[in-house]
Symmetry: C2
Amino acid sequence: MDTRPIGVFDSGLGGLTFVKEFERLLPREKIVYFGDTGRVPYGTKGRDTIIKYALQDIRFLKSFDVKAIVIACGTVSSVAFGEAAASADVPIISVVKPTAGAAARCTKTERIGVLGTSATIGSGAYKKAILELMPDAEIKSRACPLFVPLVENGYFRRDNQLARLAAHEYLDEFSGDVDTLIMGCTHYPLLRGVIQDILPGITLVDAGLETAKATVKMLEQNDLLSGKGGGTRYFVSDSTDDFARLASIFLEHPVADMVEKVEIEKY
Amino acid sequence: MDTRPIGVFDSGLGGLTFVKEFERLLPREKIVYFGDTGRVPYGTKGRDTIIKYALQDIRFLKSFDVKAIVIACGTVSSVAFGEAAASADVPIISVVKPTAGAAARCTKTERIGVLGTSATIGSGAYKKAILELMPDAEIKSRACPLFVPLVENGYFRRDNQLARLAAHEYLDEFSGDVDTLIMGCTHYPLLRGVIQDILPGITLVDAGLETAKATVKMLEQNDLLSGKGGGTRYFVSDSTDDFARLASIFLEHPVADMVEKVEIEKY
């Protein structure tokens, strides 16, 4: 039994898709969440910048004596996993492998789509992970650079006109082409309703959910489960109020008292 | 005669709308430009974060012994002008006053629209500046939080479908209502063609252009004109390549060799 918290980070709100699923699966684990809302988005930025930010995020989480770290960010997982793992000193998990594995299990046609940020798609990380499991798979990837700004501005509801228009622009080309589509950025499951409306027959693979399941397994295998306690502390690098408002909508419970601000560039 | 450079900053590419006009008006002035591309956008972030970033940007520019500072960013101009001016030690100009003044001169109906980032519109700065000049003006404001991500991702050409869709969402309500519309964020003039197509009869006021004209006047009045030399150095906090590519498209001349990277959080 290990009652230390796990550390989770993302560029902003996206990692909450992991938190929501993980809290459901293992309510007795403590979480320290960091959302880098002062520097969001990551996925349109360059490799050096993404690595620098990821290492600061990890140094911050390590100050809580975390027992494991979850990179709940598709961009960091794709672009900076090696650097992140080398600096972590504790078991670390990224969204790419669990999500690619789930897609390979789901597809019947071996035709898989991947959505991600510009940095994620540019890295080819999902494609590589799928091909390791399923060498004959055909993979079609698409960068969706407006999805993170849409989510971070609260434009993620099914009836939001701008979200629907952007989704059509990015997704129409997948219709009838792939049977399985990876939402490879943890922000995207907030747009699940919008995406599913455009591609009703497709199986959507949720990076947040798959990573939550893989994290449970990793904690079990490393004998790191807690079994008592629980609760999540949230840290952000921008306004706590804005984060608390959107996080409460998404998580469907209030978080206002649990959000604190951190000067992340000091780490 | 004062051959020192002027310092110009923005969250990213937007301030180039100032640079383009200013270089045309005064080709013999040296410019040091900083675009905070590692932390862009500013306009969706909180007041404290915007102030912190603005003060770092100014400290960086001051390291070049600049003779004046131009806040070529609608968000900083609206939210943090007082703090910025207090830290500058040299003449400083923001986009709000010159742009509000131009709108007040242009309107015939005294019905003026204002577009800006969420932070800019939330501050009410343009509205206040217009009402000081024209107390009976009717002002209709609209935050356009997707315009900066669109521009920073290169989606600003007239035929770009996503830019057109977002512009319809934000602008349709202005049709037939106002005769003059302030593009109150320096990114927005890159979308001028898209905006004008939707509102063909309206006079668009360009924060970059108006601030360039006001800066010329300010340099003249303070006896700070150079009259020899010229040239612009560009600094960014993210990848120099991405900036150089988009900046070259917008400025219509190559800038690749002139872009350098800076660790802005050290200032």
